[in-house]
């Protein structure tokens, strides 16, 4: 799966949880600055795990600060498609 494809899917997941304008969803913007609180973040992580069939370890989850961080983690964890 390409980074662009992962990013697109992550934005869809986040948007389902929270109505956030485009300019706030850049790869570098801290999620907290986009209005995503700790409980929103947990819900978003849960949805990501379901959608990509992955399990994000707690330490990786805690280290995610931005959408870019999320894309990195998902990319590492999504099994390479043969």
């Amino acid at each position: 799966m390409t980074r662009d494809e992962i990013q697109r899917q992550l934005i869809d997941i986040i948007r389902k949880e929270k109505d956030i304008p485009d300019e706030k969803l850049s790869l570098e913007t801290p999620l907290a600055d986009a209005g995503i609180d700790s409980l929103d973040a947990l819900t978003i992580l849960f949805a990501i795990e379901e959608q990509f069939h992955i399990s994000i370890p707690d330490d990786k989850a805690r280290a995610m600060r931005t959408l870019g961080d999320m894309v990195d983690v998902v990319q590492q964890l999504v099994p390479a498609v043969e």
Partner: protein, 405 residues
């Protein structure tokens, strides 16, 4: 210091009658039931397919991101707060929230556990704890209005919101707060909870005639009808309401709270009677012009409650109108005390006593004036609202209407 009088300056309700005071008043005046076929969940595997469900159009789209019971609490609180004009007119540290519930976030727990036990998934959503906890509704209301004073959730089954309103009354009397949003919320119409009530064999299951299922005090009563909703009162110290020139709709004048110290589910006339006496305080039975009964329509409650009223009111028991509005809105568990106090006050302030519907032939053990089937015009100055919960926990609130002020 003389204890402050406690004014009612706002009323909010969302119930099987729909959203708002006017919907409730209209149903009560027209003796119209809000009990219906349950539509919000799949009932095909349940025996009981009816309930006092809040119509979808009454709450659709309001307050995303909470359990159903908290959304109901927010809707009711908003209506009450708007009527009382509390926004910006209360010191946040003197502004409290006491919202009772019997069962908390049932929808959230039911959906979470269904994933695991039925759908074979291994995890539940991370919102499961914060949405289902019993104090979630009080917390949501507190945050929504910036109320930073006393805030908590009494949990005492069907007496929860009577206790919430009583505790708020005590808090304001004692000077702990100037204004409190007090009431209750419950949303127990989930698959698991309905199934659990079916097992107790106390549900009136008349799937073909939902509006006729709940028959308090009737010889042929079959049991209670589960319901959902929320109601919230703005309670305010008399001085505070006066200072800001806010219209006063009523007054809480007494609160009785007792325990049967007896059986988990069998009610006791003694426990109920002691709560009624405590709520009356210095008032005489003849001062009371109406009693909103707990009136669940179970075999046990209605006869026991009638005996309790007779033991306190003696001869006057036969002259005071007693009705069960549960005949129309069903039994909203921990929210029922608040729903009944708001319903009673809305009706009485509008000049009528709400009826007990579906009452053709009274049980011989139930021989009071239950205002059968049709409302009655009257200017009642003072009423009592009874709530008697499983676990033997009782709450009775004495309320002065606009006609008694």
């Amino acid at each position: 210091m003389t204890p402050s009088r406690v004014a009612i300056t706002g009323l909010g309700i969302i119930s099987p009658f729909g959203r708002g005071r006017e919907a409730a008043c209209d149903a009560l005046r027209n003796a119209r039931s809000g009990v219906r076929r349950i539509e919000n969940i799949d009932t095909s595997e349940l025996n009981c397919r009816i309930g006092g469900e809040v119509p979808a159009e009454a709450h659709r789209g309001s307050f995303k991101g909470f359990d159903r019971f908290s959304r109901f609490a927010l809707i009711a609180a908003e209506e009450a707060a708007e009527q009382a004009n509390v926004r910006g007119s209360v010191d946040p540290s003197r502004f409290g929230v006491i919202i009772g519930t019997g069962l908390g976030g049932c929808e959230t727990l039911d959906a979470g556990f269904r994933r695991v036990y039925k759908d074979g998934q291994s995890r539940v959503p991370p919102t499961t704890i914060p949405w289902s906890m019993y104090n979630a509704a009080a917390s949501a209301v507190s945050a929504h209005f910036g109320a930073k004073g006393p805030a908590y959730t009494p949990v005492s089954a069907c007496a929860s919101s009577a206790h919430a309103i009583g505790q708020a009354f005590q808090s304001i009397r004692s000077g702990q707060a100037d204004v409190i949003l007090a009431g209750g919320a419950d949303a127990p119409l989930t698959f698991g909870i309905i199934l659990a009530w079916e097992s107790m064999r106390v549900l009136a299951i008349d799937n073909e005639h939902p509006e006729a299922a709940c028959r308090p005090f009737s010889a042929d009563r079959k049991g209670l009808v589960l319901a959902e909703g929320a109601a919230v009162l703005v309670l305010e110290s008399w001085e505070h309401a006066g200072k800001r020139g806010q219209a006063i709709l009523g007054e809480i004048v007494g609160f009785g709270i007792t325990s049967d110290a007896g059986h988990l589910t069998d009610p006791s006339a003694d426990g109920a009677a002691r709560a009624i006496r405590m709520a009356l305080g210095d008032l005489r039975p003849t001062d009371i012009g109406y009693i909103n009964a707990h009136g669940t329509a179970t075999r046990a409650n209605d006869a026991t409650e009638t005996a309790a009223i007779k033991s306190v009111f003696e001869e006057h028991a036969y002259r005071v109108p007693v009705s069960s509005t549960k005949s129309m809105h069903g039994h909203a568990m921990g929210a029922s005390g608040a729903i009944e106090i708001v319903s009673s006050l809305v009706a009485l302030n509008d000049g009528f006593v709400p009826p007990t519907i579906n009452l053709r032939t009274s049980d011989p053990a139930c021989d009071l004036d239950y205002v059968p089937n049709a409302p009655r015009d009257a200017g009642v100055p003072l009423f009592l609202s009874n709530s008697f919960g499983f676990g033997g926990m009782n709450g009775v609130v004495a309320v002065r209407t606009i006609h008694g002020l």
